[in-house]
Structure formats: C-alpha cells, structure tokens
Amino acid sequence: MANQETTALGERLNRRAVNDFMLKYAIYFVFVILIIAITFKEPTFLSIENFRNILSMSATRIIIAMGVGGILITGGTDLSAGRMVGLAAVISSSMLQALDYPRRMYPQLGELPLIVPIIAAMVVCGAVGLVNGLIVSKLRVPPFIATLGTMVAVYGATSLYFDRPPYGAQPIGGLDKRFTNLGSGWLGLDGRLSLPYIVLIALGIALIVWVLHNKTTFGKNIYAIGGNPEAAKVSGVNVTKNLLIAYTIAGLCYGLAGALEAARTGGATNNYGNGYELDAIAACVVGGVSTSGGIGTVPGMLVGVLIFSVINYGLTFVNMSPYWQQIVKGAIIIAAVALDIRKYLNKR
C-alpha cells in the first residue's frame, strides 16, 4: 500500500520534472520540430547550402536582435531600430560607391578604407541610440513613445540625406567590390565547409554581447534594472548611466547591421530596415526575452532569430504561400510566448 503510494508519487514527480524540462527548453523543441516538419515535406531541405543561406539571412537580424534584446532586458523597447538600420545602410553605401560608378553621391570622394564608412554608420546610430537613452532616462519619456518619436524622426533624416540633387530618390548602387564581397563572400577551407563573413561577424557580436550580459557589471545591472528598478537604485546602481549604455550599444549594433545589410544586398534606399524592429522584438520574445524586463538570454535571442529565418526560408522552400507564412509566423509568436510564460506562472 505504502509502496504503491511511493511509486505513484515517484511517477508524479517524474512527470513534473519532464514537464519542467520541456517548458525550460520549449523554444528549442519548437525549433527542432519546425526543421523536422519542413524536412518531412521536402527532404532536400537538409543541405549545407540551405543552412548557409539561412545563416546569411539571419546575420544582420542577429545583430539587430542583440541590440534590441539588451533594451528589452532593461524593461524598455526600441521602435527606432529598423529606421536606424536604414540610416546606416544609406550612410555607409553613400561613402562606398565604386570609383568608376557614374552616379556617385560624392564624386570627389576617394577610395576609403572599408572600415571607415562602417564606423561612420555605427557612430551616427550610436549617437541616435544615446539620444534615445537620454530621452528615456533623463526626460522620463516611456521607451515606447521615445523610440516611436525617434523612429519617425530618423526616417525623415535618412530621407533628407538620401533624396538630394542631382540624383534624387534613386537607390544608392554601384557599391565598391570590397564592400559587397564583405556582404556576400565567405571564409572557408573548401567550397562546402565555409561560413559567410557576415555570419562570422554576427556570431562575434553575439559572443561580445553574451560576455557583456553575463560577465560584466553593466550586464548584471540591466537585468536588475529590468527586474526591479527601485531595487537597483537603492543598491547604488546608476540607472541613468546603464540605460544610456544599453541604448548606445543598441545603436552601434543597428549601425553595423545597416552597413552589412547594404553590403549584402549591394545597395540602399531610405526605406531599408523598415519594420525590422518588430521582427527583432518578435525574435527576442520568441527566444524567451520578457517585454516587461529582467529576463532573456543571448542563446535564446539567437534561436529566436533562427526560428524566423527557418520559417521564412523553409516555408518558401516548400512552396507555402507567403500569406500563409505570415499567419504561421503570427501564430508562432503567440504560441511561443504563451508557452514560455508558463515557466513563470506555474510556481504561484
């Protein structure tokens, strides 16, 4: 009798442990199931080439997500991310048009070292990020509104810069080979085992952000600020300073992502990056970042981005209508968060 009871209890505990495990890694299961489902429909999906394509597609998104993710962790949000990507794309490509291209924005400009325009884009976006941070921390404007404002304003600024005589609102093209090579070339031993440069860069950024979040005072502080701002304040954390850093780092990320996006696609217009902020926020949230702050990990954000790339690429691969893809994406956002939130609800 007692024996029976203990077995029943053991089973219950077991089931609970399995449940907890499933919940903890729910998002990774979704990821794997998604790939299995697509492969089941189209076995050729499992190829190195497809995965390389998915990774290249993800690279700039990963960098944007790293920026937005840090801000979400502070309990904030950043709607200006996409427009900043556009700003960075326009700035960097305007400075890197090939010397023999007839319609150069700056005809007198010599051949710049590759790094200069990228740094320029990052500095400008970093400055906008700093402004975001100042508006949020000093003027106390809620992040949603603050970055909604800068989102609109940045688009205006990008368009002013972009739509000028003599060429007006023409896409900036004819980019320097070195630049486009950075965007579409890869590093590898042979043709099969290789990784695109931008993927390497994105992974490098992810690693840096992981170290920032987990190994530095700044990282620990943003989790505390997002988790309980008052607690951070009375523990002597300089909330303003940490918010400024988080928004500035995010701006730097968007700047880099924008430059790489221009390099990858071989051009830029003022509409580049439109809507990327929502994709990045969705990816973070699907990856377990809480929009109310204080929760989120870099591996989670990575998987979040990859899930969306796999959906985009994989569902197109199996010839699903793009309209249906949108519906699937929407459902996944909601389902992932509904699942993820169980982690925090079940211990009431």
Binding site: V234, S235, V237
Partner: protein
C-alpha cells in the same frame, strides 16, 4: 571630538504636496546601540530614513555622520558613506540569483581597465563567507523568486549587514519573518551592536522593540515626540505617546454570540504541491474564527481556495448544510463569501483609482441601471455612507486611494466587501502594516460585523490579535490543522506549540 553620537539628524523638515511629512525633527543615535523609531503609519519614520539614505532630499535640516555634515544625493553615496538600509517594501530582483541580489551595485571585478569582468568565483566565496558568518543556509545560485518571503527578507538583512556600515537602518525587517528567524535576526543585531554599529530599528511590534532596543524615539504627525531609554517604557506608554491619547484597551469589547454552524469544510486538500492537506473545520453564525500559524503554514492558500482563487484536489464544503462547489471568486461571491486579501498593495487596492472606484469595484454590476450604464449617483451616495460608517479619513470620495494611509486604505477595502453584503467574511492579516490607532478601529469594525450576525474567518500572525479577537482559534502548521483552541482560554504558548508542531 570622537562624537558621542554616530548619527545626528538636526531640524529635518520635508513637505509633500498637501502634507508636512517631517516637521523640525532632531534625533541622535549613539554608536553601538539599537535605536528604535516608532510612530503610527504616516508619522514620518520612513520619510526621515529615506531623507537620510538619499532617496528624498529634505527641505531643511542637517545630517551629521560621525560629527561631520553629509548630504547624500542618492543611495550610492549613502552606502559609500557608511549607511545601509533594509527597505520596508523588500526591494529585490525576483528573476536573479541570491548572490546577484546580494552584491548588486558592487560586484567584485577582476582584470584592469574599462573592460573589467565580474569575478564570479569571488562573488560565490564572499556569499558563502557572509552566510557562514550570519549562520544562514541559502543556496547562492537559486533564483529569488523560488524562495519564500521570509528567506528573501533574510537575504535583505544579510545584504544590509554586508556593507559593514556604521549605521544600519532596518525598516520593518521582521514583517515576514517567523519567530525563529526573528530570534536569529536579533542575534545578528546584538553582534553588530557589540561591534560598534548603530542600528535604527523601525517596527510596529511593541514586544520586539522592548526586547531589542536601547533607546526609543517616538514620532507623531511628522514631529519628534521624544526619546527615552527603552527600559523606562512600557507598551502602554509607547502607544500613548504614539497616538497622543490613552488606549487602555487594545481590543474593543465584543458582543457577538456564535450561533448555528453556517460553513463546514471537510478534508480540504490542495491541488498544489506542498500546500494544505486534509483540513476540516466549521464556522458558526456571528463567530470570529482566528487562524494562527507561522509563515508557510498555508493559511492564505486555504482561504484563497475557499474563495475559488486556487483549486482543490479533494474535500467538500457545505454552506448551511448544502454542499457547494466553488470554482471562481465570482461563484464564491454568489454564495455570499468575501475575501480581504493579505497583500493590500499587491492584490487589494487599485492605487491610481479613487476611493469610490475602489469601493465599488467588487460590486459594479449592482449599479448598472436600466440603460446599461452605471448609476453614478447611487455609487456616490453608497460610498459616502461607507466613508461615514467606517470613519474613513479621506478628503473626498474622489481622492486616489494611494494617497490615503494604510489604515484608511484597509477600511476602503472593508467597505468594498461590505457593499457585496457577504455572510462570511474572510480576512487575511487585516491589520498588517497598520498603525495602532487604526488597528483598534479595524477591530471595532470586525466586532460590530460579528455582532450583526456575519461569520468571520481571520488569519493573523499576531498573537495578541488572535487571542484578543477570536472566539475560537484554529492553528495550522505546514499545511495541516494542528488544533482548535477556545479564544477565551488559549495562551500564546499553546498557539506557538501547535504552530511549530512539525518544525
């Protein structure tokens, strides 16, 4: 001038819109002593301490630390200057680990230059050393959200101690602690005192103050009433000075006569793990049934299950002899239950709404007229009536509830539930965080309700309250009922024995 006082507050004044929170307060604290700060809610104790800790800027006044004037602009400066604080509202980050909470704002770093990393090993060993010194046993890596409130409070205490401050402010440090943990805290306080630290101790619990404090400063209405050696004071004298009048009786006379059984709970077992098991009791008309026990006895879980907020695995409940099933608070209210929840700020008031909106919240459907719109007039007149009945101190029914004192907020919540005309009123810690004067008024309301035939279940962690107000006292320990005592003959010792039966 090796100062006689480690801390001197001189002529401190601070006004908020509409209130003078501090009015020329001067208090001196000696090193190596425990200085209790007492007063009703709203007397200005917390405001005074927040001025000292750099959270508020005082309008006037001077703060001297070790004889030198200081002016802390923020908490960082206060901590660096040798003042640490345990905050009343338990300021911690639930989704971070114990050690990350402990060292927040001063993580140990390694390496050099601007890119220094956190020294995780040192953080772990510092945490272990601190816990060992304080005789605490908590896993440094576990997330705070997985710990009980009393454990979290212990961590806040450890954190405040770890700054090695000259002055440690403790604002209601024991509000969530068990008796055992309070004894442990007092051990820590005595050691800090012998090491020369000064402790400013804010509490409403008289027994604690008289046990631990060397000196007692009393505040009333933002003013400093006086400072006495605690050996010169008695509970009655403290209360008299706090409220400015005699309170000869802490509890009102009760005229209620328990009648027939109205509620019967049989073999209640929670659907949650580690919750209550096999609890049975009954409740009579016009009776006040106290429920005593330590934190973690699962008393709140029990009453929340009765009210439909949580779920049962097994057990039956019958009302006036008829078995009922309650699956939601709406059903419970339909069966004439009301529940005044434990956490007034978290689950009671809606801070940004007015007194009227808060009062009518549980009962709005009654005010919907034939047009489908809410009948404002009826709502306003009912609110005004309850404000008068319960002697709620509020400028108007439109005042935001967050601007009222704790006691008056609680009265608004009482009024909210009374408007639903319940037969059975469940009160979970009805006087927690409420000052002595307002407590008496809450007791009077409870006594009147019982006398008018309402049945009352009252969870309380305060022994005198249980003994002073209950007809019968049910004691729980670790989710089980350990006994039912007669309120007239029960003693504190008996309750404690039952409350700690499985410890």
């Amino acid at each position: 001038m090796s100062a006689e006082y480690v801390l001197e507050l001189r002529h401190m004044s601070k006004s908020f819109p509409g209130v003078k929170a501090l009015d020329d307060v001067s208090i001196q604290v000696r090193p190596g002593s425990v200085h209790a700060l007492m007063g009703e809610n709203g007397a200005g104790k917390s405001t005074l301490m927040k001025c000292l800790f750099g959270i508020y800027a005082p309008d006037e006044g001077e703060i001297l630390l070790d004889g030198k004037p200081v002016k802390f602009q923020n908490s960082r400066q206060a901590l660096d200057g040798g003042v640490s604080m345990i905050h009343q509202e338990l300021l911690s980050v639930p989704n971070r680990s114990v050690e990350e909470n402990l060292w927040l704002g001063r993580y140990p770093l390694m390496g050099a230059g601007p890119f220094r990393l956190i020294d995780a090993k040192k953080m772990r060993s510092d945490t272990k050393a601190l816990f060992k010194k304080l005789n605490m046993d908590i896993d440094p890596a576990v997330w705070l959200r997985n710990l009980s409130v009393s454990k979290i409070q212990s961590i806040e205490i450890a954190k405040a101690v770890s700054y090695n401050a000259k002055v440690i402010i403790m604002d209601e440090p024991t509000s969530s602690l068990t008796e055992h943990e309070v004894a442990h805290l007092f051990g820590i306080i005595r050691r800090l005192r012998s090491e020369g630290a000064a402790i400013v101790y804010i509490s409403h619990k008289m027994e604690e103050i008289l046990e631990i404090a060397d000196e007692v400063s009393i505040m009333r209405d933002g003013r400093h009433v006086g400072t006495w050696r605690s050996s010169e004071l008695t509970t009655a004298e403290i209360i008299k000075r706090m409220v400015g009048r005699d309170l000869t009786h802490r509890f009102p006379p009760r005229a209620n006569v328990p009648g027939e059984v109205v509620l019967r709970v049989d073999n209640f077992t929670s659907a949650e793990r580690h919750s209550f098991k096999d609890v049975s009791f009954d409740l009579r008309r016009g009776e006040i049934l106290g429920i005593g026990g330590l934190v973690g006895a699962k008393r709140t879980e029990l009453v929340e299950t009765i009210f439909g907020l949580r779920f049962l695995e097994s057990g039956r409940i019958s009302l006036n002899g008829r078995e009922i099933k309650i699956r939601s608070p709406v059903q419970a209210m339909g069966d004439k239950f009301a529940l005044l929840t434990e956490e007034r700020r978290a689950t009671g008031i809606v801070p940004m709404l007015g007194v009227k909106e808060n009062m009518l919240l549980a009962n709005l459907s009654r005010y919907v007229g034939r047009t489908g719109l809410i009948n404002e007039k009826q709502g306003i007149s009912d609110t005004k009536e309850k404000i008068a009945d319960l002697r709620i101190k509020t400028p108007s029914y439109r005042t935001l509830i967050k601007d009222l004192s704790g006691g008056n907020q609680q009265k608004v919540l009482f009024a909210k539930w009374l408007l639903t005309e319940p037969d059975i009123l469940i009160l979970d810690e009805p006087t927690r965080g409420i000052d002595v004067g307002a407590k008496y008024e809450i007791y009077s309301i409870i006594a009147e309700l019982a006398a008018s035939g309402k049945s009352i279940i009252m969870i309380s962690s305060e022994m005198p309250e249980l003994l002073g107000m209950s007809d019968r006292i049910m004691v729980m320990c670790a989710g089980r009922k350990t006994g039912i005592l007669d309120g007239k003959t029960a003693t504190q010792e008996e309750i404690m024995r039952l409350a700690a039966l499985f410890e």
